[in-house]
């Protein structure tokens, strides 16, 4: 065939190019297996976690998968007392600065009564995951990391 237009094979080849070095589904599956996965940028050497299509620090496109230690520092938290539909209060969302650099959001494994401001800055480690069963809006069940305080 002559004239303008691309062949189906050419278009299919373009479609095959990969843009997502670590998908959410893969990230969540790894979490379920106790692993906190991230991406190491080959341009700036920094770690991206949760995964993004580009480096969260320098927008680099060349990244390789790495497993993070799951260790970090508690930046902040709250005790949710009024929960959205589908969740049961109380529970403790937290923000953790990982040893490798990026911040990660998750839950803190702790009795709500023990959740005091003095915990901020303490060392934490990923101790498991929480699985949200999902609702009709969430596109199925989803997983987040759970951390526990490892520093007295």
């Amino acid at each position: 065939m002559v004239g303008v237009g691309k062949t189906q094979e050419e278009i299919e080849k373009e479609l095959a190019k990969q843009y997502i070095p670590l998908s959410y589904a893969e990230y969540e599956e790894a979490l379920s297996n106790g692993k906190l996965m991230g991406l190491k940028c080959l341009s700036c050497n920094k770690i991206t976690c949760h995964p993004m299509p580009v480096c969260q620090w320098c927008s680099g496109r060349d990244m390789e998968r790495v497993e993070l230690s799951g260790e970090g520092e508690l930046l902040t938290f709250t005790v949710i007392r009024v929960a959205p539909e589908g969740f049961e209060a109380p529970y403790i969302p937290c923000l953790v600065k990982t040893k490798e650099g990026p911040n990660v959001i998750g839950r803190l494994e702790l009795e709500p009564e023990q959740a005091s401001q003095a915990l901020i800055g303490k060392r934490v480690k990923m101790s498991g995951t929480y699985t949200y069963k999902g609702d009709k809006f969430s596109g199925g069940a989803h997983v987040c990391p759970v951390f526990k305080i490892v520093e007295p």
Partner: protein, 395 residues
Amino acid sequence: MRDVAIIGVGHTKFGRAAKSSLELFSEAALQAMDDAGVTGKEIEALFQGAALPGFEEAQVMPAAFSAAELNLGPIPATRYEGACASASVAIRDAVMWVASGDFDMVLAGGVEKALSMGTAFATRTFAMSCHSPTEGPVGLTFPGVFAMAARRYAVEYGIPLDELREKMAYVSMKNHKHGALNPLAQFYKKMGELKVEDVLNARMVADPLTLLDCCPFSDGAAALVLCAAEDARRYSDAPVYVLGTGQASGSALSKMEDITKPVSRVQSARMAFKHARLEPKDINLLEIHDCFTIAELIALECMGFFDWGEAANATANGETDIGGKIPTNMSGGLIGKGHPIGATGASQVYWIVKQMRGEAAKGNQVDPVPEYGMTDTLGGDFGTLCHLILGRDRR
């Protein structure tokens, strides 16, 4: 680009509405058109903020039906969604379209019926403007986000959490005081004389934020008629000019460098100041996004009205109340007036315009009337920020 003016404003009563969203928006729109003295024939486009109409009334594409409901004809009508900043981004784009010369007169505003959803479902749908992949499974809520920010704020500035909570309470006391004086507010004639202990001892929502640190769920609408500045005096003796606009976007909470200094808010405010060629010291009145007490403090600092870590003390000292350095949320803000999320940005503009005309309620009206006013509207957990700077003179 042309200068743009606001020549008419409308605002429903905020709270629980028996009316539908279409009726609420129509009410605000007709008030605004009557205020401007224009008919539907003159309106060339509609820019409507609405965050969650699909969940509230099983209605998407509400803007088209709002235009139809008002018999505006087959004009372009677009819904804007930027969570709680929906109306502000709608107004900002409306300004751009008039400034560009494509339209001479447009209607902009917003509407929401969030209170009708009930607390559990409203909390669920509001949380959808958190980063769903990472914050969704955690069960993070908006009070939760700002509770985390409050704890971080206390750490960053070395303020004992109990002391910060007391200072945050002054935001609630001030905004409820002014909301109680505002007949359009959800809490009109209610909670006008709160004490610090009332705020601290209210039911805990997300530790350390109590119910009185939080704005309510609300139904309501607000609307504006905008036209080219050169035509404004034909319609209004007291047009208000849009001198600057800013907008910026944020990220998932975990990608933010510092949740007490959201870059999106700083950038958006700076964009608006640059556009208006003004500085914080020039502004006489603020309507800012006090979805939570701590949010007002963070906003004041990001916008440059106080140094980092200074807004808590300044608020406790009365510097953001009437007669202070920068009167903030004299309408009652989101906390006292209510927060129909898709309408809030338009409500903020409405109250700046009313203040500039000397038509705010007694006790809330600043005297002399402000020359320059500014709005700050936040969508999500710092995901969408929008600022508008308004003035009584075209400059």
